[in-house]
């Protein structure tokens, strides 16, 4: 689904954020992206979202080379990659329903299609009863679920979650993880950048660790950090 070949990213100010990254993420996988702040997680996500250009290497999405694409094609790539942020990024003057429907309107779905699909997605994230609430009337966990609903309403094959539980208490974070797992079980590939050690350790999913812009670990059913055996 996603393939990075020898990818490096150097910012214009000369800072190198990623060195020679190689990875392949298969369809339907759930991958944690871990590493301390400044390790390159955000840069990697920006490359996947085509927010930043790639200095060297090749990037493939769904078999397509998207290393360099003209600006006008970027929106169509973003429709294949849903994204959820730590700060939710909801429109405060729109209801829950409208926030989700908005994503479908933008991509040119018919009103009938929108009326059909939005309620289904809202029930998937357990927000059917809050459809006409405004974001500021919701708890953090609920807001994040709206954001998740919005990111998957157009049925993207890949979902990127950038510290989706960063602003939430552990119980609420657990709810969010349940929703993400559910989405993953329906076939969506998920890449989740996180600092939440407990979540990573308990889920036993693939873990990719970055450190100073280098890929230092890629482990199936891994933990947040390498266990150093006591001698």
């Amino acid at each position: 689904m996603i393939k990075l070949v020898n990818i490096s990213k150097e910012y214009r100010n000369g800072v190198t954020a990623l060195y020679d990254i190689n990875m392949e993420i298969k369809k339907g996988e759930f991958v944690f992206l871990v590493g301390s702040s400044g390790a390159g997680k955000s840069t990697l996500i920006k490359l996947l979202l085509k927010e930043e250009g790639i200095s060297r290497g090749k990037l493939y999405l769904d078999g397509m080379d998207i290393t360099r694409v003209p600006n006008r094609r970027i929106p169509y790539i973003r429709r294949k990659v849903g994204v959820v942020f730590q700060d939710f990024r909801l429109l405060p003057n729109k209801t829950v329903y409208e926030n989700v429907a908005f994503a479908m309107e933008i991509t040119g779905s018919s009103p009938r299609e929108i009326r059909r699909r939005v309620p289904i997605i809202l029930s998937m994230v357990n927000l059917s009863r809050k459809a006409s609430s405004f974001p500021d009337q919701l708890s953090g966990g609920e807001q994040q679920r709206v954001s998740i609903a919005r990111s998957i309403v157009n049925n993207p094959p890949v979902l990127i979650a950038d510290e989706p539980t960063g602003n939430l208490d552990p119980d609420t974070a657990g709810e969010i993880m349940k929703v993400l797992l559910d989405i993953n079980n329906r076939g969506t590939t998920i890449i989740m950048a996180t600092h939440a050690r407990e979540i990573v350790n308990s889920m036993k999913k693939r873990v990719i660790a970055l450190e100073d812009g280098r890929l230092v670990r890629d482990e199936e059913k891994g933990g947040y950090s390498i266990e150093i055996p006591n001698i």
């Binding site: 600006n71 929106p75 933008i106 919005r150």
Partner: protein
């Protein structure tokens, strides 16, 4: 949209100003064209207007002098009464206006036909010096002067309009910029969800076009009614030569409306595009 009302008003005003000046220049040029077309028909004619109650002797002298010139085809006397008749014919439906005159303000005149314009300038200069000649009208002069005048107006008009268009685009782009930055969050989200630039631009361009069209409507109203008023009041002064060539406001209204609408919305759209360019490059 009305969150930044003063900027909106500034935009509309600047577009109106551009279009109003364009309208005035256009009317001037059209009127001059009218005059040029009409006088071109009389290209081979020299009109010699005589002072009031000129003696037969003086008239004879003028007639003889002219006849001796090479290139003169014919010389005809046109009395002031005949001149009025001709004018009535030309004015057709509005001729009743002339009935109200107490005295005939038109002068007696000789109409000289030349078959060779080469000599016309010389003839005109000589006849001017003769006794009893009030004024000589040779239309080649008039045409030349009109054309030069039209050229100045066109050039000046284009310069002024160019500068004003630039200013309008600038003002509108700033107006739209305010709206854009107030909706930055929304635009940002739209981009992540995969909205095309066209989709994002749409509403802002509509806003620019909307401002442009309002500006166009205001300027059409001002130019049209202002000019109509001017036209009517000028036409009351019957003997004024220039008013005769003024274009009829009714004839130009539709063209003016189409042109103003197009240019106004064009300026609006351009202003929006300029302000959006920076925001969309993510």
């Amino acid at each position: 949209m009305w969150r930044n009302r003063s900027m909106g008003i500034a935009s509309i005003t600047s577009i109106s100003a551009v279009l109003m000046i364009l309208g005035v220049v256009l009317i001037l040029i059209l009127s001059i064209n009218n005059a040029v077309l009409d006088t071109k028909l009389k290209f081979d004619e020299v009109e010699v207007f005589l002072v009031e109650d000129l003696s037969n002797e003086s008239m004879d002298i003028i007639e003889e002098t002219v006849k001796e010139y090479p290139g003169v085809l014919s010389i005809l006397f046109r009395s002031k009464e005949q001149a009025l008749e001709i004018m009535k014919e030309e004015w057709a439906e509005e001729a009743y206006l002339l009935d109200g005159l107490e005295t005939n303000p038109l002068p007696d005149a000789y109409i000289i036909k030349v078959n060779d314009i080469e000599y016309a300038d010389e003839l005109v200069n000589d006849v001017k010096t003769l006794d009893g000649v009030e004024e000589v009208k040779y239309y080649k002069d008039v045409i030349d002067k009109l054309l030069i005048f039209a050229g100045y107006i066109q050039f000046g008009g284009i310069m002024i309009i160019g500068i004003l268009v630039f200013i309008s685009v600038f003002i509108i782009s700033n107006t739209i910029k305010i709206t854009v930055s107030s909706r930055r969050r929304e635009i940002n989200i739209m981009k992540y969800v995969g909205a095309t630039n066209g989709y994002i631009r749409g509403p802002f361009i509509m806003e620019g076009v909307f401002l442009g069209i309002i500006g166009a409507m205001i300027s059409i109203a001002i130019v049209y009614f202002g000019y109509e008023y001017f036209y009517n009041s000028m036409n009351d002064k019957l003997y004024d030569l220039f008013t005769f060539y003024l274009v009829d406001p009714k004839l130009i209204f539709a063209d003016l409306a189409i042109m103003f609408g197009t240019i106004g919305s064009g300026i609006g759209a351009l202003g929006s595009l300029v302000s959006l360019k920076r925001f969309l490059n993510v």
